[in-house]
């Protein structure tokens, strides 16, 4: 008989299998589109987890990074005729540069000041995208090509779903490796005890910049996928509201909780859609629910529910027995 903790080990497999079979049960384009949006959000949230969840640095400029990923890929494909896969190279380079660029201010400012600085970054990017003619100005970029592999185009919702699913799977593996590596432990130490980190001879500046860089790379790749999935992008998408939503995903999932990033992303993507039938007040109700979730489940919904119901003791006991 397997113990609760042993079953818990299989959770990632169950989760990914569940995501893999969703399209079999969700047949319409509506929910498939929302599923794709949720998976893209999950990739961003996994990256943001390095900064906000593990390192404890609050950044509110993620939507701008996500947007830059979309625009770099779209511009290279639409204006220069690059293949979307080849465009991933400039996308990754832009992510690396943005991460480095944003990481440096984090060495000088902290807390609310860092949040304000990143909000400023978000607004600068959005305004530039809105005002520059070569980015399509306010109306954005249309007719962005889809990804193709050997003539097989990812041009339907179901095909896009599995492409994004594969990318999400890849990023889950990468993020898992990072979280459980020397880097991951250093990120956590930045939040928990930076002094001890310095005493150990680890350069905090490097750790912070690495966290920002990795996070930016996750966000730009998700942004590029979004551009080729939607085939149309406009600056109005990449607002500070979206940046806040990314942080909300982490909080709902539990700050620093690896799998929480994924279900947090799904909750933020799906909850408003499930509330739609209520009518015009659904956004108000959505906001109230999110607020209550943040207040009453500060460690993440499933973590806290499990704790309130005493399941954590069972799991712990199971673990000890196991």
């Amino acid at each position: 008989m397997k113990t609760a903790r042993e079953w818990k080990k299989y959770f990632p497999v169950f989760l990914m299998l569940l995501l893999a079979v969703i399209p079999a049960f969700v047949t319409g384009n509506y929910y498939r589109t929302v599923c794709c949006q949720a998976m893209l959000y999950a990739i961003v949230a996994l990256g943001l987890n390095f900064i906000v969840g593990l390192s404890g640095l609050m950044t509110l400029g993620t939507a701008a990074i996500y947007g830059l990923g979309s625009y770099v890929s779209a511009l290279f494909c639409v204006k220069l005729g690059w293949n979307p896969w080849a465009a991933l190279i400039p996308v990754l380079i832009s992510g690396w540069l943005i991460g480095k660029g944003l990481g440096y201010p984090s060495l000088r400012v902290q807390g609310v000041y860092l949040s304000l600085a990143t909000i400023g970054f978000n607004e600068i990017v959005r305004n530039l995208l809105t005002n520059l003619e070569w980015t399509g100005s306010g109306t954005g970029i249309r007719n962005i090509p889809v990804y193709e592999i050997g003539g097989f185009a990812f041009d339907t919702q179901i095909r896009s779903y599995y492409l994004i699913y594969a990318v999400l799977l890849l990023f889950i593996v990468i993020a898992w490796k990072i979280v459980n590596s020397r880097w991951g432990r250093a990120f956590k130490a930045v939040k928990d005890n930076p002094d001890a980190l310095e005493v150990c001879g680890i350069n905090i500046a490097n750790v912070k910049i690495t966290a920002f860089t990795l996070s930016a790379i996750f966000a730009v790749v998700a942004g590029a996928m979004y551009a080729h999935f939607n085939r149309y992008i406009t600056p109005a998408t990449y607002t500070t509201d979206l940046s806040i939503s990314f942080v909300v995903m982490l909080i709902i999932g539990g700050l620093g909780n690896f799998w929480g990033c994924i279900y947090g992303a799904y909750i933020v993507a799906f909850l408003p859609q499930l509330l739609r039938p209520i009518g015009l007040t659904y956004k108000l109700i959505y906001a109230v629910i999110i607020m209550l979730l943040v207040v009453f489940f500060p460690n993440g919904i499933f973590h806290d529910i499990r704790r309130y119901l005493g399941l954590h003791r069972v799991l712990k006991k199971g673990g000890e027995e196991g």
Binding site: N131, G140, T234, F296, D304
Partner: protein
């Protein structure tokens, strides 16, 4: 312990709300209250009709709440009138609304929600050009006609979609009409200013006015600002210093008070002409009368126009929704769009998407409240006329005064 109870309470509230919601489609507030009252009537009515024809209305939800209200009501009035006359093809016309909000993702989700319903024959309503650009291909793929209210020229120039129809004058016509009115009707044809928002709406107008001024040899001074700006003193002073004789103010509803107050405070008193936003009651109530007195606006329909059909529509609208209901040109547009779609369904003799599309393409002077509908050029545009209205202060309250109807096909 308290937290535990709170968690249980929250779960219960969420489940209850979801359960309540699952029985209804997205509806406007007025519709929601009527749902239960009308349940009995619907059963009776369904016996009179041979099924239903659903028309989807994609709104901006709470993102632009006043728009949503008048659009949902305008569509409901059209459906009620059609049903009173026996419906369309013997079927009852039913309006299904969905919230497309004001971001591309939400608009796509709202549109997909409508397209999920196989009984939706056609969709109308969405006013924001960026949203229209984001969703038009979904309708082409689904072969469902889409009547849009977005006015960007890109919707015509950059799309190849025979299921896309525009039931109002595009920016090319609207902005050109504004410039033409200032230069030709008012005779201010030496130096013109344009104050525009840095988005698709404003930049589209800038392009059109620039072309017009170049053609007529008028010097144009252009100043842009961002939608969220609350102070545009610098732009206004630049226009004033350049000695402009008139200003085309191409701004969205949310910017009307900012622009109007800044222009008034800086003493830029030359004649101004803007889009429909500068004539709408909801925007005018946020401004002091002096700020906007005398402004001209290009609108789809000037509600004070002495037109029997229009005035009859207005009376019936308030009779149906009460004197407190909000009516704007958008409500009148959607009313016309639903009638247009149903006329096409009747002519097509079917609710099949391609058949409706073909019938709509063959529209020949369908009488809408905002003009006669007929294909302009080779695609998308079907309305070529606009009204020019002027804001006048009567008893301390700003009202629209009808000036004239203008417009050109190209």
């Amino acid at each position: 312990m308290k937290k535990k109870w709170m968690a249980i309470l929250m779960a219960a509230v969420t489940l209850t709300m979801s359960a309540c919601g699952s029985t209804a489609d997205d509806t406007s507030p007025s519709q929601s209250t009527e749902n239960t009252e009308e349940a009995g009537e619907t059963e009776e009515a369904s016996e009179e009709f041979d099924g239903e024809i659903k028309i989807g209305v994609l709104t901006t939800g709470t993102a632009i709440a006043t728009y949503t209200e008048t659009v949902a009501d305008g569509a409901e009035l059209a459906a009620a009138q059609l049903n009173e006359k026996g419906g369309v093809l013997g079927k009852k016309v039913v309006i299904v609304t969905s919230d497309g909000s004001n971001t591309a993702d939400e608009t796509i989700n709202g549109a997909n929600r409508l397209l999920e319903d196989p009984d939706i024959a056609a969709v109308c309503g969405y006013p924001l050009s960026t949203g229209c650009l984001a969703i038009e291909s979904l309708f082409k793929q689904a072969e469902v006609p889409l009547v849009i209210s977005g006015t960007s020229v890109r919707l015509k120039d950059e799309t190849d979609n025979e299921y896309l129809f525009r039931g109002r004058a595009s920016d090319a016509i609207q902005a050109k009409s504004a410039a033409e009115f200032l230069a030709e009707d008012l005779g201010l044809n030496e130096t013109m200013g344009i104050l525009y928002e840095n988005n698709d709406f404003g930049q589209g107008a800038l392009q059109v006015v620039e072309e017009y001024c170049n053609e007529k040899g008028i010097t144009l001074v252009a100043e842009g600002f961002n939608t969220t700006d609350t102070d545009i003193t610098a732009q206004v002073l630049k226009l004033k210093d350049a000695g402009v004789q008139s200003v085309v103010t191409w701004i969205a509803a949310s910017s009307v008070p900012t622009v109007a107050s800044n222009m008034y405070n800086q003493g830029l008193t030359v004649p101004k002409c803007g889009p429909v936003a500068v004539t709408l009651e909801e925007n005018l109530t946020n401004c002091e009368s002096a700020w906007i007195d005398g402004w001209y606006g290009v609108t789809d329909i000037c509600m004070t126009k002495d037109d029997e059909t229009l005035q009859s529509f207005i009376s019936e609208y308030f009779e149906m929704f009460g004197d407190d209901a909000y009516l704007s040109n958008e409500g009148a547009n959607i009313y016309s769009h639903v009638l247009w779609l149903c006329d096409a369904i009747e002519r097509a003799g079917s609710t099949d998407g391609p058949a409706i599309m073909q019938a709509m393409k063959e529209t020949d002077n369908f009488p809408g409240l905002n003009g006669n509908y007929k294909l302009i050029g080779d695609k998308v545009d079907y309305v070529s006329t606009v009204d020019i209205a002027q804001n006048v202060v009567v008893d301390g309250k700003v009202q629209n005064e009808y000036i004239k109807t203008v417009g050109s096909a190209e």
